[in-house]
């Protein structure tokens, strides 16, 4: 699940150029990430002790697969939060893409590529609409995508009449996506790895990524420096559309049919939670894929562990809330921040 590349992990999210100054190991991983790693290890150890099968390779894969769709959306959420925006409509977008992929698949005489192509096309279109409404319509991203949350869900329900559509498990490619493996690892997890790695490289090693940080950190500075903020923002929302569409396609592949709502509702909160827990400042300009993925892994491991231990939903809710707060409190206590006003 984690995407630490062998060569280049020695930089924190924040510090981008190392001048050969010695950095402590903590600084290398990043304080935020360190807390998450500690929490993750703690969770794994706890449930590993309580349950023999928890740390089995099988269960690890299950955790990974279950976290993939949230993970994908959390990764793109990270980008948009870094830009200072937000996308609350990701879940609805995924639902729409899921339905479209299955319906296009069915109506094109079971051609999976056309089905997926159609879904991705819709994803791009929806993303561009979001971006244009936000940038040129001057609508606050929260409002615009809250509206999108309702509207795209409605569209998905309309095209599908509110029912699951089509059946794709007779197609080898969809089956491969849903439960195939490459080198012993589920295809789904590979997709998450590839997307996360791509976004990580984009953010850290290209000028595009650096410009995104600039836009989120101080949009006036970015504008004065000649960065075409508008283009970047629209492109980011389009990218979200594409990745949400991929998430939707995986949803179809996993559940066997296009789901307008089920499976995608509520994903936005999970994605935002993961991004924020991973160290994204909702004000923009800060955050990274590493932290987000760790947060996704932590939440996934926690959820699976609680279920494995047979904890009922009610306690799970309480435990998840309490643990989320505990993780952040510990993390903040470590930095010794002064407790005045609202934390970022």
């Amino acid at each position: 699940m984690t995407t630490t590349t062998p060569g280049a992990p020695a930089k924190t999210d924040e510090v981008t150029v190392t001048a050969g100054r010695k950095r402590s190991p903590i600084a290398v991983v990043g304080g935020q990430n360190l807390s998450l790693i500690v929490a993750l290890v703690a969770v794994l150890a706890l449930f590993g002790v309580l349950n023999d099968n928890y740390l089995s390779w099988n269960n690890i894969q299950v955790i990974g697969e279950a976290a993939t769709i949230t993970g994908l959306l959390a990764v793109v959420q990270t980008i948009v939060i870094i830009c200072g925006g937000l996308d609350i409509s990701v879940g609805s977008q995924a639902g729409l893409a899921s339905v479209v992929s299955a319906m296009a698949f069915t109506s094109t005489a079971s051609n999976p590529y056309l089905g997926m192509g159609a879904a991705i096309g819709v994803g791009v279109a929806v993303g561009i609409v979001n971006g244009v409404v936000i940038v040129y319509g001057r609508v606050n991203p929260t409002i615009a995508t809250l509206a999108g949350l309702a509207a795209y869900k409605g569209i998905a329900q309309l095209v599908s009449d509110g029912r699951a559509q089509g059946y794709v498990l007779n197609d080898p490619f969809f089956v491969f996506l849903g439960r195939g493996k490459i080198a012993g690892l589920p295809v789904m997890i590979w997709i998450l790895i590839v997307v996360a790695l791509g976004v990580h490289v984009l953010l850290k090693y290209t000028d595009i990524g650096r410009n995104l940080y600039a836009i989120g950190g101080n949009d006036t500075a970015a504008r004065l420096a000649g960065i075409s903020i508008n283009k970047y923002l629209v492109a980011v929302y389009a990218l979200i559309g594409v990745v949400a569409a991929v998430a939707g396609i995986l949803l179809t592949a996993r559940t066997g049919s296009g789901q307008p709502v089920s499976g995608s509702e509520g994903l936005e909160l999970k994605a935002i939670t993961a991004a924020a827990l991973g160290g994204c400042a909702l004000k923009g300009g800060k955050g990274g894929i590493g932290g987000t993925l760790l947060a996704v892994a932590l939440l996934g491991a926690l959820e699976n562990g609680l279920t494995v231990q047979g904890i009922n939903t009610f306690w799970q809710n309480v435990a998840q809330g309490a643990l989320l707060v505990a993780a952040v409190v510990i993390q903040q206590r470590r930095t010794g921040e002064r407790a005045v006003g609202l934390p970022a």
Binding site: E14, T16, V17, T206, N211, N218, A225, G226, K286
Partner: protein, 535 residues
Amino acid sequence: MTTSDTEPPVPDHFASRSGTGIAVQDVAKRFGAVQALGGVSLEFRPGRVTALMGENGAGKSTLLKILTGDHQPTQGRILLDGRPVAFGSPHDARKAGVRIIPQEPEIIPHVSVAENVYVGSLPRNAWRRLDRAELHRRIATDLARLGFDKVIDPDELGSRLTAAQRQMVEILRALIGEAKVIAFDEPTSSLAEHEVEALFTLIGRLRAQGIAIIYVSHRMKEIFRLADRVAVLRDGTVAGVLEAADISEGEVVRLMVGRDLSTLFVRQDVAGDEVVLALDGVTTDDVTGIDLTIRAGEVVALAGLIGAGRSELARAIAGDLPIRSGEIRLNGKPLNLRTPKDAIRAGIGLAPEERKAQALFLQRSIRDNTSLVSLERLRRLRFVKRRDERAVAQEFTDRLRVRTPSIEQEIGKLSGGNQQKVVLARWLIRRPKVLILDEPTRGIDIGAKAEIYRIIADLARQGVALLVISSELPEVLGLADRIAVMQNGRITGELDRAEATEEAILNLAMTDDLTAATTAVPDRPRTDPADGGLR
């Protein structure tokens, strides 16, 4: 009202750059009801420094923003090298070689200084890969070239920079690539004396390279040193243009303000005997063993280089930074300050140095911003007495000559200097026993400065104990009854008004090795371990 065309003979090295500089013709700009500029025509020639002067809100920044594509004029046109140009965005202007160092530095918080400087034109390899090695080479070269390499770490995050360092980032940004015109909008307002020197050397070099330089400042001294020409704006129009030979302080002031300012500083001796504020061995994370007293009616100035810890001391007195050891007494009674609120309640006020970050509520009205710390006195049963509130807000905006259509105006829409006046008004209304003013005249025009000095004198006469932090030595010398000089978190000496000179202050402010005192800005140990916690 027209630009004079009597050019001094063009030196040889001007040949290195062709072109006739940048000019505006009949440029006007209106913001809603506010006519910021009304038909301005000016020329800025290559290889010359044109100072742009004027009262707060006269339209200087607006003119510069129009020149650099950030605002579009409602009327008129811009000529670059004789050809009309239309800059749709700051980027267009940049590409055409027109640069600005804005009044308020725009810093990206969570990226490095290097990236902050090169934002928008980061060096890259194929596939848009960021070329970090090249970035690092460039920033190192730039820093060395400007002599900033000792005071700013290219890896430091934007959010951790001091005001001076932020300013340096903006300067560095403006110098990337080929520039034809560079506009400085009050670049020295947060720089220390020696950094100002470095900047002047730089400007001299740029001038020699044949770059047209526009220089906005409220500091007369700088204008005399730098300017080849002074253009004075008043109420959005050109009040006059003076050539180097004709520049005199009186004339500039007359053009700016429309009248003579006979005295800038009001000197008086009203200090009583009663000690209002006494610091006894105050030690915080940043300052060590501070002993200081201020009597009623006394104006004590705190001088020193940037990073000396003056602001930290001020914040400690104002309850915003914890005191590790030592004691603060107010009228003889020891204070236990945990928050600024405690200090304000006790009667200590602080007008902080960074108005945008530390003092202003940009989206709120002038009225709101001025009354905030005095609401306790302007309320009945916790209901704000709006009529009284409006009255005092109006009175003080009038007295400080804040240029605004009404006190209901959003403060973010005021010019920088006018915003500063509102910050001062906030504390003038409250009238505490001890008022600490951290760089109170930063970015304030000379007319308003005189007004503020007069008000400081007034407050002193009413028995307020004043602590003024200023990096402008003339101001320090002109205002203070007594001057305490800080260096490296300690007070290195006190000077009476009689014995104070610029040299004496600088001697106390600097160690023998000037750089040693100023270079270690980011990593200097905050407290002396041998002394920490002894008292």
